[in-house]
C-alpha cells in the first residue's frame, strides 16, 4: 500500500529526516515510535505533502506521490489525523465532519458515513451543533478522527493519537480504530509506546531522523532495551 524509500527532508537548516525507509502493507496497522523531536511528525508531514522531501520516494499503491500538494494526495485516499487536532474551531461539529467528506469519494456516501461515524463516537452525536473549539480535548480528538474517517480513506495516518487524552479515552479510541481497521490500512505515530505496540502488527523506531530499529510489534514489546532507546539516553 504505502512504501517510503530513503526519504530525506529538512526544515530550514535542520535535517529532520535523514533517509527513512518503511512499508505499510495493505490492511495492516503499523506504528512509528520515537522520542520527542525524533522526526515522526515530520515524516507524516512529508508523506502528506506538507513538507518537501529533498530526496527519496513515497509510493502509494506503486504511484510516486512525494512532493505532490496535500490536496492531491488526499484525493488518492489518504486521510490524516494531524498532531494537535486542528479543528475548524469556529465551525460546528457537523460542518467539521462534513468538511472531512469534502472529496467526491466521501460525498458520495455522506449520509451513510456520517451515521457510521456518529455511532462510533456517540458523544459527537449529542454535540452536532456545538462549536468545535469549545469541545474538550478528548472530544476534539474524536472529532478529528471522525473527520478523517468521513472521507472513507484507504490509508489512515494518525499522529500522536493519545496525546493529552485520559487513558479511558485512549482505550475508547483504540477500540474504535480496531473496528475501522477492517477496511482501512493504518499508520500511527505514538509516544505511548506500549499502547502502540499492543495495537499494531509492525513498528519502526525513529531516532533523530533515522530509523534505529524495526520489527513485529509483539517482539518489540518483549524487548527490555526498548525503553532506553525510546528515552533517548
Amino acid at each position: 500500500m504505502l512504501e517510503v524509500k530513503d526519504l530525506k527532508a529538512s526544515i530550514g537548516e535542520n535535517r529532520v529526516l535523514r533517509g527513512i525507509s518503511l512499508e505499510v502493507p495493505q490492511g495492516s496497522s503499523v506504528a512509528v515510535l520515537g522520542a520527542n523531536g525524533a522526526g515522526k511528525s515530520s515524516l507524516i508531514r512529508t508523506i502528506t505533502g506538507l513538507l518537501k522531501a529533498t530526496s527519496g520516494k513515497v509510493l502509494l499503491n506503486g504511484e510516486e506521490i512525494q512532493n505532490q500538494p496535500p490536496h492531491v494526495i488526499s484525493r488518492l485516499g489518504v486521510a490524516v489525523v494531524p498532531e494537535g487536532r486542528r479543528m475548524f474551531a469556529d465551525m460546528n461539529v457537523q460542518d467539521n465532519l462534513m468538511m472531512g467528506a469534502f472529496l467526491p469519494r466521501g460525498r458520495k456516501m455522506l449520509d451513510q458515513t456520517m451515521e457510521e461515524v456518529l455511532s462510533l463516537f456517540p458523544v459527537l452525536k449529542e454535540r452536532l451543533d456545538q462549536r468545535a473549539g469549545t469541545l474538550s480535548g478528548g472530544e476534539q480528538q474524536m472529532l478529528s478522527i471522525g473527520r478523517a474517517l468521513m472521507s472513507r480513506p484507504v490509508l489512515l495516518i494518525l499522529d500522536e493519537l493519545s496525546l493529552g487524552l485520559a487513558p479511558v479515552i485512549v482505550q475508547e479510541i483504540y477500540r474504535v480504530l480496531e473496528k475501522v481497521r477492517q477496511r482501512t490500512t493504518m499508520l500511527l505515530v505514538e509516544q505511548s509506546v506500549e499502547m502502540a505496540l499492543r495495537n499494531t502488527s509492525y513498528a519502526y523506531l525513529l531516532e533523530t531522523g533515522s530509523l534505529s530499529r524495526q520489527g513485529a510489534s509483539a517482539d518489540l514489546l518483549a524487548d527490555p532495551g526498548l525503553k532506553e532507546a525510546y528515552l533517548g539516553l
Partner: protein, 243 residues
C-alpha cells in the same frame, strides 16, 4: 521567601484547558526541571510567567511581590528572561546585534567597546565564537538555540527559563551543554527553570522536577522519586518503564 511563586494559575484556549490550578515555588539558586507530555502546558506556563499571555486566574509572585500579568518587557527588566522552544532569532541581524538588544535594554551603562566585548564573550560561552558577524537566519537550528541562550543570558536575569534548549545535540555536545547549564547557576548565580524531554539530562542536572499533564501539576520532587511515581509513568514515561 521563594524567588518565584505561582498560585492557582489557570489558562484556557478556546476549548482547551491548557493550565489548570497550577501552584508551585521556585527557590533561589535551584535548577528546576519541568517535564510532561506534549501539549501538557509547559510552554504555556512560561508564557504566563513572562506575561506573554494573560492568565485567566491565579497569580505570580516575584520576590514576594505580585507581578501577575506584567508585560514581557517589564518582566525581563524585573529579572526573568527566557528562551523560545521554536527559536525566534532576529533573522536579519547579526549574532552580535542579536545579543546587543538585551544588553542595551538591561545594561544600558555598557557602551561601545565594552558592549561589544560582553556580547562576544556571551557568544563564546554559548559556543558561537567566530560567528559574531553571521546573520542569525543563516545559523542552523542548534546554533539558533545557542543564540537564544546567549540572548537570554545577556538580559542578566536572576531567573532564566529554558525551553528545550538541548534538542538535536549529540552526546558530546550534550555534555558540554549540561556543564553550561550548571555553570549558569553556579557562576552566574541564576536560578533556572528548564523544560526538556530528555530525561537523562534532566535527571543529571536538576535538583527538583515538576511534572505537568493536561495542564495539571501531577507530581513534584526529586528526579529519582518522580520517575517512580505511577502517575508520571502513566502519563509521561510510559508503562514499560518497569520493563
Amino acid at each position: 521567601m521563594s524567588l518565584l511563586e505561582i498560585k492557582d494559575a489557570c489558562k484556557r484556549f478556546g476549548g482547551v484547558q491548557a493550565i489548570s490550578e497550577v501552584s508551585f515555588r521556585v527557590e533561589q539558586g535551584e535548577i528546576l526541571g519541568l517535564i510532561g507530555p506534549n501539549g501538557a502546558g509547559k510552554t504555556t506556563l512560561f508564557n504566563l510567567i513572562t506575561g506573554a499571555i494573560q492568565m485567566d486566574r491565579g497569580s505570580v509572585l516575584w520576590d514576594g511581590r505580585e507581578i501577575t500579568g506584567l508585560r514581557p518587557d517589564l518582566a525581563c527588566k524585573a529579572g526573568i528572561s527566557r528562551t523560545f522552544q521554536v527559536t525566534r532569532p532576529f533573522g536579519r541581524m547579526t549574532c552580535l546585534e542579536n545579543v546587543y538588544v538585551p544588553l542595551l535594554e538591561n545594561q544600558p551603562n555598557l557602551k561601545g567597546k565594552a558592549r561589544q566585548q560582553e556580547s562576544a564573550r556571551l557568544l563564546g560561552v554559548t559556543g558561537l565564537a567566530g560567528k559574531e558577524a553571521w546573520l542569525a537566519e543563516s545559523l542552523n537550528l542548534i546554533d539558533k538555540k545557542r543564540l537564544e541562550l546567549a540572548r537570554a543570558l545577556a538580559a542578566g536575569p536572576r531567573l532564566i527559563l529554558l525551553d528545550e534548549v538541548l534538542g538535536g545535540l549529540n552526546t558530546m555536545e550534550m555534555q558540554d551543554a549540561l556543564k553550561l547549564i550548571k555553570s549558569i547557576r553556579d557562576e552566574y548565580e541564576m536560578t533556572v527553570v528548564w523544560i526538556e524531554h530528555i530525561m537523562g539530562a534532566i535527571m543529571s542536572v536538576c535538583e527538583r522536577v515538576l511534572v505537568l499533564d493536561m495542564g495539571r501539576l501531577i507530581c513534584q520532587g526529586e528526579p529519582g522519586v518522580v520517575c517512580q511515581d505511577p502517575a508520571v509513568i502513566e502519563a509521561y514515561l510510559g508503562e514499560q518503564a518497569d520493563a
